[in-house]
Symmetry: D2
Subunit: 315 residues, 4 copies
C-alpha cells in the first residue's frame, strides 16, 4: 500500500499531511508561510520528507490559494503570496524527486470531500467554503470541473449585488462580501459602532476594541442565546442560501457541502441557508433539488484532496 | 455515410433537419406545435420520415425547451408545453424504430456550436442564447456539462438583481428579465409610454400600438442611426456582459458564443457586451480571459447539435 | 360652533363626514365611486347636504388620490379615476354654494393626524400610509409640505431598488412594490405557488385559490402563531423601516406615524419596522431620532384632515 | 445700508466674506482650519473683524459641515471637526459682540442660491452640491426646510442601493458613494488598476500614481475628448439624475440646482443627469417637472447664504 503527501499552502500557514489510499490523514505537520516566497518549495520538500519517513510515497499534491495552470504545474497568481507564474511543481519535484501536482486549494478540498467526505455518495458535488473569503470547487460526473483556463469555481467573486460593496478583486458586490466570515464580523462591528438596539452582548465582548468581535466569539454568543448574534448568523445564512440558489441554477449539483470555519455555527447557519436556498431556487417545484449539508473533513479536506489528486493524476 | 435527424421542439414550432456526420444541415422541415401535446411524437416521427427519405438514419436527437432527464429519455417539465415526465424518447422510438435521445434545447445548441460552429476551435465553450428568454449550454473539456439532475446551465434564471423584476419562474431579478429580447422590448415600450426624451422614432414605429415595437424593428432603427435605439441595445449589451462576467467567474470557459435572435444586432450589442464583460470580470488583470464572439449556426444550432448527440450517444 | 365637511374620494368609495372644529367625526356617509367621473361632484354635493342637515357648514375639504394643483382647486391626474385637470372645487362649489378645497388624500390624512391624531404633540410629522399602495404626507413646522407643484410626498414611488420590480408608474423598484399590503400578498402567494417550506397554513387558507390570501387573512394567521406569516409581516416591516430611514435622512421628521390597513398588524409589523429604521438611519449615534408610532385616526384621517383644511384655508 | 459676515467652516479651510444686503460678496478672506477646534471661534472673530473694517455689521452667519441645532446656536456633530454640542454662536458672539447664527453649510448654500443665485426665480428650490461628498439644501415656499431636529436634507446619505458600497456614516449604499466627486475618482482608479479597455489616457495621467487621477484632471481629459473620461462623467451624471428623481418624488421642487466642484464638468455631466432624471421620474407624463440647472454662485454660495440668514434671522 502506498501513501501520498497532501499540502495546503495558505497566506499564514503551510499545512501538510501523509494520506493513505483510503483518504486517512495519518500524520500532519505545518510551518508558517515565509515572507520570502522563494523559500516555499524547500519548506514543502522538508515537510514532505518529515511526513514520509520510511514510507513509500507515490507523489505530492499541493493545494494553493490562487489561480493554477491547467497542466497543474504552475501557480499563475496568488492573492496573498508574491507569485507570478511560479513553476511550483517543478521546484518541489527537483528537491524531492517525486511527481508533484499543483491545484487550487478549494478544488483540492472539493476533491477531498468528494472522494472521502460529504460527497462520497454522489458524483455531482459543489463544495462551498465559507471562511475569511468564500471559495468553491465543483465535481461533475465524478470529475473535477477545472474550467478552460483552470480558474473555474471562483464563486467568492460572482457578483450578487450590482453596485454593491467594493471587493479587493476590483469588482463590486462579490459573493464573499456578503457571505463570508469577514462579512459577518464586519456587519457585527458596524452594528456595535452604530449603537444599534440589541448590541449589548457584542459591545461587552468588544469592550472598546472592535477587533475582539470575531466569527468564533460571535458564534459562541449565538450558541449562548444572544438574539442579535443569532440574527446575524441567520442573515449570513440567508446570503449563503441565496448564492447557492444562483449556483444551483447554473451548476445543478446533487449535493452542496458547506465547509470552512463558519460551518462551526452548525444549524444556526445551515437552517437559514437551506431555507433561503429553497425559497430562491428558480422553478423549484418543477426540479429535483440539491441536498445542502455540512462538509465532513474540516480543514483537512484540502490536504486529503491534494494527496489524492497526486495519486490519481501523477504528472 | 450515415445521417441523423435533429429536432427542435419550441412553444410555437417543431423544426427538424437531416444532418450529415460533418454537421451539414441537408434538409429542413417544420410543423406548428399542436395544442395537444400528445400529438407531438407523431409529428416528430412524421417529420423524421419525410426528412429521411431513402437515407439510412442512425438516430433521432430531440432538443426541447425544458428540463430533461439525466438518461436523455424524458422531458421532466417544459414551461410552454403541458408535459410532466413525458417519456418522449420511448414514444418517438416506438413510432420510428430508431434510437432517440432527448436533450435540453440550449444544451443541444451548445453541442452544435461546439462541434461545428463558434466553438470548433475550443474544448471549453459557453453558449448563451439571447432570444425571448435567455438560455445556455456548457461544454467543458469536450463534454456537455449536464449537471447532476440534467438541468444545468439554466442561466436565464440566475439572479443578478436582488429583489429585482419578477420572473415567471417564481424568483425575482433573473438574468433574462434584463438581458433578453423581451427585456429590450419592455424597456423600449416603457420609455415610449413615459414620453421620454428621444423616443420620437420609437413612438412613430409604435404609432399608438406598442406591440409594434419589436426586437427586429428596434434593431432596424438602431442600424438606421436612431440614438435611443442604439442606447437601448447598448444597455442590453451591458447587462449581457455583466452576466457573462458572473458566469465566467464560475464556469471559466475559453470561448463564450452569443446566439439567439438578438445576436442579429451584431456589434451594436456585442461591443457593449464585451466592454462590460471585461470591466466586470473579477481580478481580470491576473487571469486569462474568455473570448466573446457571435454564434455561427443561427437557429439551426439546436437541430445540428441534437442530431450529433443522437449519433454520438445512441441509446 | 361651526362644522366642516370632509370627503375622501377613492377608487371604489367616496366617504364623507361631518367634522367639528375639534376634529370630531360627528356623522359619516359613503357612496360607491361611479364609473362615470362626471357624476362625482353631484355625489359629493349630495353627501355633503345629507351630512350637514341643519348645521352651519364652513366649507368642504376633499381629499383625492392623485396629483392636485397648488391652488387646491383642481385634480391634475388621478390614477384610478379618469380625470385630467378636473376643476373639482369649482364644480362642487357651484352645486353647494360652499367654499371647497381639494387636496391629495394622503396630505389630508397627514393634516388630520397632525391636528387631532398621532402628531398632535409635534410640529414635524411624516405620515406613511401602508395599504394597497404606499402614500405619504409631510407636516413641517406646523405647515403642510405640499411641494412646488403640489405633488410632494409621493413616497410610494421613491425608488429603493435599482432595476427592481416594475411599478404601474413606469419606474422600477418603487417603495410601494416592497412595502405595501399588495407586496405582502404578492410575496405570500409566490411562496405558496413555489411550494416553499412552511407554507402549509397559507396553502390551506388559499385552498387552491390564491386570491384568498389577503392582508387581513395573513395577519390573522400571524396573530394565531403561523411562523411564515409572522416572518412575512416582519419582512414587510423591514422594508418599511428601511424606507423610513431614507425618508428621515431627507425630511428629518420628529414623529413618523404609520397608518393604512396594514397597521392592523400592530407590533408584528411595527417592531421589525422600528428595528430596521434604527439600524439603517445614517450616522444614527450622532443625531436625534424620530419616534415611529402607529397612526391614531384609522381610515377617518383623510376625512378629518380634509375638513380641517377647508376650515383653516377657505378659498 | 448694512452688511453681514458669512462664514463657511470646512474640514480644511475657514472661508469668510463681507456680504451686502443685495448678496454681493464685497470682500473675502480665509484661514486654514486648525487642528485644535477650540481655536475656531477666535479665527472666525478675527476674520470677521478684518472683513468688517469700518463697516457696520448686522450679524455673522456661519455655515458648518455637520448637524446644527434647531435654534441655530450649536453644532451638534461635525464629521471632520472634533465638536460635540459646540455652542459656536455663543462663543463667537462673546468675542465679537454681534448676533451670530449657525446653520448647516449646505442649507446656507441653498439659501444663498435661492436668494441671489440659481433659485432667484422660484420659491421651491433643491440645491444639490456634488463635491467630495454630496450635500443638499431645501427651500420650500420661500422658507428653508430645516426639519424637526435641524438635520434635514442629508441627501448624501439617502440609501440608493440596498447592500451597496459601505459609507463612512455606517450605512451601505448612500447616494454620495455613487454620485460624488470621490465616487468618480474611485471608479476611474479602479478601471485603471484593472487595466480596462480605453484606460490609456487615464493611465498616462496616473503614471503609476493613482492619486494623480483627480476630478479636475479627469474633467480636463473629458473636455479634451477622452472617451472613457466622458463615459465616466456620464455615468456619474446618470447616478445623479437617478437620485434627483427619487428626491423629486418626495420633495417636489420647482428648480433643482447642481453645485459643488463637479459642476465644472458642465454639460458632460448635466446632460446625462437630466436624461436620467427625466427617465426615472415616476409618472412623469402626468406631472409638472422640475427644471434642473447648474448653480450660480460657485463656492461662495455658503458664505452669501449664511450672511443673509444672519441678516434675516438675527437671534
Amino acid at each position: 500500500m502506498t501513501h501520498a503527501i497532501g499540502v495546503d499552502i495558505g497566506g499564514t500557514k503551510i499545512a501538510a499531511g501523509l494520506v493513505s489510499e483510503a483518504g486517512e490523514l495519518l500524520k500532519r505537520e505545518s510551518e508558517p508561510t515565509p515572507d520570502d516566497a522563494t523559500k516555499i518549495p524547500a519548506i514543502v520538500a522538508d515537510l514532505s520528507e518529515r511526513l514520509a519517513g520510511d514510507d513509500k510515497i507515490v507523489g505530492i499534491g499541493i493545494g494553493a490559494a490562487g489561480f493554477t495552470s491547467t497542466d497543474r504545474t504552475t501557480v499563475r497568481f496568488a492573492p496573498n503570496i508574491s507569485w507570478v507564474d511560479e513553476p511550483l511543481a517543478e521546484h518541489v519535484s527537483a528537491l524531492t524527486d517525486l511527481p508533484v501536482i499543483v491545484e487550487n486549494d478549494a478544488n483540492a478540498a472539493a476533491w477531498g470531500e468528494f472522494s472521502f467526505g460529504a460527497g462520497e455518495d454522489t458524483d455531482d458535488l459543489l463544495l462551498v467554503t465559507i471562511g475569511t473569503g468564500v471559495g468553491g470547487g465543483i465535481v461533475h460526473h465524478g470529475q473535477l470541473y477545472r474550467g478552460g483556463f483552470g480558474v473555474a469555481a471562483e464563486i467568492g467573486h460572482m457578483r450578487i449585488v450590482p453596485d454593491g460593496i467594493a471587493c479587493g478583486c476590483g469588482e463590486h458586490g462579490c459573493f464573499e462580501q456578503y457571505a463570508s466570515g469577514s462579512a459577518l464580523v464586519r456587519v457585527a462591528r458596524e452594528r456595535v459602532a452604530n449603537g444599534d438596539r440589541g448590541t449589548e452582548a457584542l459591545a461587552a465582548l468588544a469592550d472598546g476594541d472592535p477587533t475582539r468581535i470575531t466569527g468564533p466569539a460571535l458564534t459562541d454568543l449565538a450558541h449562548g442565546g444572544d438574539a442579535l448574534s443569532i440574527e446575524l448568523l441567520a442573515e449570513l445564512g440567508r446570503w449563503i442560501g441565496e448564492g447557492l440558489a444562483i449556483l444551483a441554477s447554473i451548476l445543478d449539483p446533487r449535493v452542496i457541502a458547506i465547509g470552512g470555519g463558519v460551518a462551526a455555527a452548525g444549524d444556526l447557519l445551515l437552517g437559514p441557508a437551506v431555507d433561503a436556498f429553497e425559497t430562491h431556487l428558480p422553478a423549484r417545484s418543477h426540479r429535483p433539488q440539491a441536498e445542502v449539508r455540512l462538509a465532513a473533513l474540516g480543514n483537512a479536506a484540502g490536504i486529503i484532496g491534494a494527496a489524492d489528486l497526486a495519486r490519481t493524476e501523477p504528472v
